[in-house]
Subunit: 241 residues, 8 copies
């Protein structure tokens, strides 16, 4: 039951061809999603402007291309994450994350810091996602805690940002140090970089969850996408006119 | 070496009583924290208005009172977390979290949802922390995923909020459901409520980290404080004039 | 917005004092739970006859008694789980699980097997829960896999039952053996009985999840309650007239 | 020693050609499985109509075909699970689960819900297994908790079903939400879908075991087969004439 | 149905007062454990001489005494494990393991080595159990791998023994070193001695399971009882006349 | 310094060409392994007749062949474990474990039970190892706990054996059931067979460590070799003339 | 057999009252530890000056006092670790670690840094142990990574030290930051400070093991003692004249 | 802002062309890393002589070669770790670790012991790293705890060394035994050698962390590089003139 049907039903009530009791029964026995639809409508509206997203891992290149084609018609832009080299090439890119279509006009600023070069692809996923979801992004790479001078040199970017994403593998200590320098909301992204007792990112994840710096939140291992969505939502609100 | 000392040093250079080389040596051999101080000063300023915090767990009642007394002199307010009943009583409260002194004028709105009654103390810690750090807070309790109507009834609060904190133990599913309803930045707090394979909050933590709703970030188990600080930082920025 | 309000609204439409469009807006902006209420109503009806449940762990004796008193007014019966000795005594019982009020007339049969004497309280929780939720129950205790003759002696009970609950700690092997004997739906309950590498019931839980007997399902460690609810639901359906 | 042999033995006793003591010795020294056979016979009878099952993982295509051929002679139908694409093609199918031969006449109804498209193959395994074991099946796909309207739209199927299977990966929250909507017996199947802290399905498994909805039981990660067998056993009993 | 009843049944067949078919039905419908009884009888005979065992943990002193009293009547001896100080005192002992009644005449020799003084109670449980189950025992304490000379001094005992039990906590390295010195069957018992990353005996358990010395088997953490039973079974066989 | 050198040294003392003090210095400064050699000599003698062992995993076919060739010269037989198909073929075998050279004359009997067909290669490793280390072996395959009649049919073999090896994956319940039937020393071998929450054999390992049957010892996951060595050592001692 | 006995034996050979063969037999059958004694002698000499150590946890106050009394006679000093308040008081101290007797003259310098006040007792254990084992110690407390200026202020101490111990709980990030500042050998000590996903020190332990700063080694959780012994050994060697 | 710039700035102050206040502002607004540079300068100097390091895992051969080429220009030597066979060949080596350029003149001695042949590559990484970082190295291979005579034969090397690295997989017991023999600082390196419950090196790691020998420190699984850097730092300090 969509809005039109509901109006028709009420018009029958107005016309007297349906009693209020009969109308209520019709509402009550209508397919659930009709009723629920109105509930979630507002929400859907809020999302306007968000890109459609295709998670490319486990899909063939053709499947990804078909998905992108289909979605791009309905949405202005499609973000493709976890691309293989082949998929990226087919989309005319070299990265693991590809935005098909133009990014929306940015509001607010997200800073994305990465601890090591190996953390780059996850930082790129976070950055491109934040852009695709409507925020401006500045990136700073290779900011390991074992080289404090590089981190301190990034302070101006941190100070400008409305929200900071910190990407790190191994022991995942960078968010704690950054969190001690700035009062900006900070999202930590553990990566699976490391070996042995890194346990595929578990060490970094636990480190970030136990950060001694207050106000650090964490997403799943390698989940640059989730951090980017969250950060863009914060940045857009802060930067809203 | 504070700013005054640095000026004096440079004045000596200007006066010719110190050569540039001698001045540089003085700078270089000054206590490190003098130099670093200026680096972190801006940051400290940003924090203005933040309460001092006392973590009461593992301290005697007298130690907590002494801490509170000492800090209140320098800061307008002191937030005391993880209070025993005895400590709370000594601070004139009955809660596990106590704010001594007035909350600052609020900017922005934080919604705090709790899944079960047992999650209440953690939700209270998050809420009181967010208030102490400068945000307005609205709470909704007992919003379990197994009773969707209560959750849907909370939608107006969710729609009003600048940022949402969702507190849940056991399987920690609530953030996923809330995250599917709203596009507001959402911070999930797993609690240690549950038994057996809940493993002291591990099940809820893993559930939240793997949320299928995009844009959910997570803090440590029972860490209402961290979620409150983060949320207040977002809310204050969004609500800034 | 409850049913009466909805009827009034529709009567206004019928009376022409409200246009269909206006009425729809009123529906759309009504508190969410009004709309949702109808959605979940059917479900609530299905539950009729289910007892109210009080989880006594972590509550004072007085809190439990107050809960029981309040709930008993609205429901015919109250099931109290995880009682301390003091709580049980206050309820006039000696067990860890207490049913206040009469059990409903039983439909279908649940067999509850326990591997060791230490598994008894969890088996009792499962059995009393199944009875409180409307099934008949037969119990067989001390049916360890290391004493096959006792297990085989329980075959007639297993054959009679509509659904079987098997409670076991340590290595949790009993469900596999029982599952090899009968084709009855079988719910396995791991208990925290054991020490060392039993890891608080983890060994039994993993054992049951990996059972080589097909058709074994599992609940949380020590969760006799959950097994009892599930089993009663199956038994009532099978035993429905 | 089968029934015929036992009768012959007793006839010799009756004829006096064997003393009671000699007969007893013959019974006592008979192969153990003769004696046990009678114990398990009833059970075997109960199983009548169940398909034979071939677990194809780790077998060559030829081995699977040979198995299927051999079993189909003795049983009316053979269920082949965990097929590679090559095995499926050789069996004339494209799915990961293949039923060779006709399904039995169905009794009772199993609803199979899947949270995401990636959970599809496990849901298919559960559904086809339930059919092969004698139940009717209705499937609903893509019912994520982050899109409540799709779930609520599935309510009529849930209401019709005698037992519900819910398949979900990542945080595995779907069973909790479904369990809050219906009082039908519910079997949760965690899948290995996800990455990072999903730990190969562990997050979903723990989430389901700790479900706040009462009456949820769980099977091993990706174990659609086990859920299907269990569900069919329940459905057949409920639907028995 | 015991042997006498079976004979009577067969005599009725011989006398013609029961047809073979009737007799078979009687056999088939006899309580299962009657049939199974004969299956396990041989086994029970093998156990002759084994003590009854009372696991005292979680029982009141009176319960333990009642158990001991009851069992001692039927068995010549009762082994009580995991005694509290109070239970031990009531049994006239000071140890955590108490044998009530005389040990059987020993056959074969079990050597019990303990790495540290804290491992003593587990070693004592193993030693007293082996004696109660019929083996002679020699103990060597404080044989840490960090003090090789003490270990090497124990070589004569190791050479004499038919089977060796090695008890160690912390890193659990002792079995590997002992296993490199002798070709005697070696049972390793990890203890929960240690702290931090000892994880309650997990480190020792994993160490022993991965021993580079071939022919080392392992029991549960702190399971001196299990090691003692196994070792006595080996020793009695080796020492059998 | 071997025995001959030591004798020569002492002869020089006897001949007066070396003072006692000088001799002692020579002993003290001799390479450590000379002194130690005598310590371990007895042990080496005990080992006489044991095969040399080559662990083929991670070696090229040529490396394995070279190893086997070199060792066979010094030892009568070489046991090669964890062979790839190519290595096995090069050794003229099809199994994962290959004994090059004749097995020694057997003493004592080892029974090797395997729960499922997939556990076969580990059971084969255990059996061939026990033979290579000097014991007779009888195997019984496909003895799952979900099919008790097959297990009970194996009782005569169990009764004959001096020591029993039980190989099982998944939930690893078989050793508990076998341990309840016989009083023979029992070594449990968990295998990595299973999926999901089997966690590569962890479930079976924990199950076996927590067996409710007394006197069960355990080896590492898939460690048929270790179980075979241990069992042969027991069997040879029991079967020694 | 000590050196004197060995000389006497060789004198008998020289005197002809013992043949070389007889002497060798006597050597070979001497208690093993006689032979081994000489092997380990050098080592023991190296240890000269090391204190005896009493691990007080799990001992009664009287047992600790008796141990201290007995050891102090033979050694100049006794280090008592893991003291309860009562034990400390009985030893005339208030700390958890107590050195009875004077510390040896120090050689080399150990710097001990602690991240938080709660890490103090472990830092104290490390510091007092290093002193008791012969090194000078300088401590710097409250050097969290979230407050870089305090850490940088500690640089002069770090520069002076021959070896650095860094004690930290929660995420354990401090060693990485310190390791990036100095090239001094650095030992990291994780503490059990923290809650929730700190898992009793596991997060800090994993963090330290995965440190991105090269040259960081780690000890067990809360193991200040082990770090102190290791550091003193390094410092004494560096500071040796 | 480097030293030259700072001097120029101060000269302007001296010349009066810049007021002290203006100069201070310039200092304060200079890029952070200028100020920080002086902080870390001393440190950098300390490192003089350290090789540059290329972690080859995950890089193409060409990338490694480019890295090596670029770094070799600035540094005298480049250490390449985790080489594939192809990378090693391109560097003219066959090992997994390659030092391009001459090792520095050694100071102090590092002993590297490896338990098994499979531990060789990690031991090689440790040894070559220690040499590249300026220490002399002696290696002893195949020193398993199950063959004590080989270990004791290595005592002279252990006695000579300033610091000892012990590399072992499986149960990781070797450091405990070595630590009982010598008082030399000892670094334990767990390797991922083993299978089943070795859990990729976890068993060895836990074993080493819980070593009963005092003064053992540990690095990450397979982290020969970290152990080598640490050991060289100790050795160079001990061996400094």
């Amino acid at each position: 039951m969509d809005r039109d049907e509901a109006v028709r039903l009420l018009e029958q009530v107005a016309a007297g061809s349906l009693t209020p009791g009969e109308a209520l029964d019709r509402f009550a026995t209508a397919p659930y999603d009709a009723l629920v639809h109105s509930l979630v409508d507002t929400h859907r509206a809020l999302r306007t402007g968000d890109p459609e997203v295709v998670y490319a891992a486990g899909k063939t290149t053709q499947q990804v291309l078909d998905n992108v084609e289909a979605l791009r018609r309905s949405a202005g832009r499609v973000l493709v994450t976890r691309c293989s080299e082949e998929v990226a090439a087919a989309l005319g890119s070299t990265g693991r994350t590809v935005l098909v279509g133009p990014a929306p006009a940015p509001r607010g600023l997200v800073a994305v810091l990465a601890a090591g070069t190996s953390d780059g692809p996850v930082a790129e996923e976070a950055a491109l996602t934040a852009q695709a979801f409507g925020a401006a992004v500045e990136r700073v790479d290779d900011v390991g805690v074992a080289g404090l001078h590089r981190l301190l040199a990034a302070r101006p970017v941190l100070d400008r940002a409305d929200v900071v994403i910190v990407v790190a593998g191994m022991e995942g200590a960078l968010p704690s140090v950054v969190g001690g320098l700035v009062g900006t909301p900070l999202i930590a992204v553990p990566t699976s970089i490391g070996y042995g007792a890194a346990f595929g990112g578990l060490a970094a994840l636990l480190g970030m969850l136990n950060s001694c710096a207050p106000g650090v939140t964490v997403v799943n291992i390698d989940n640059g996408f989730g951090a980017g969505v969250f950060a863009a939502r914060v940045a857009r609100r802060v930067g809203a006119p």
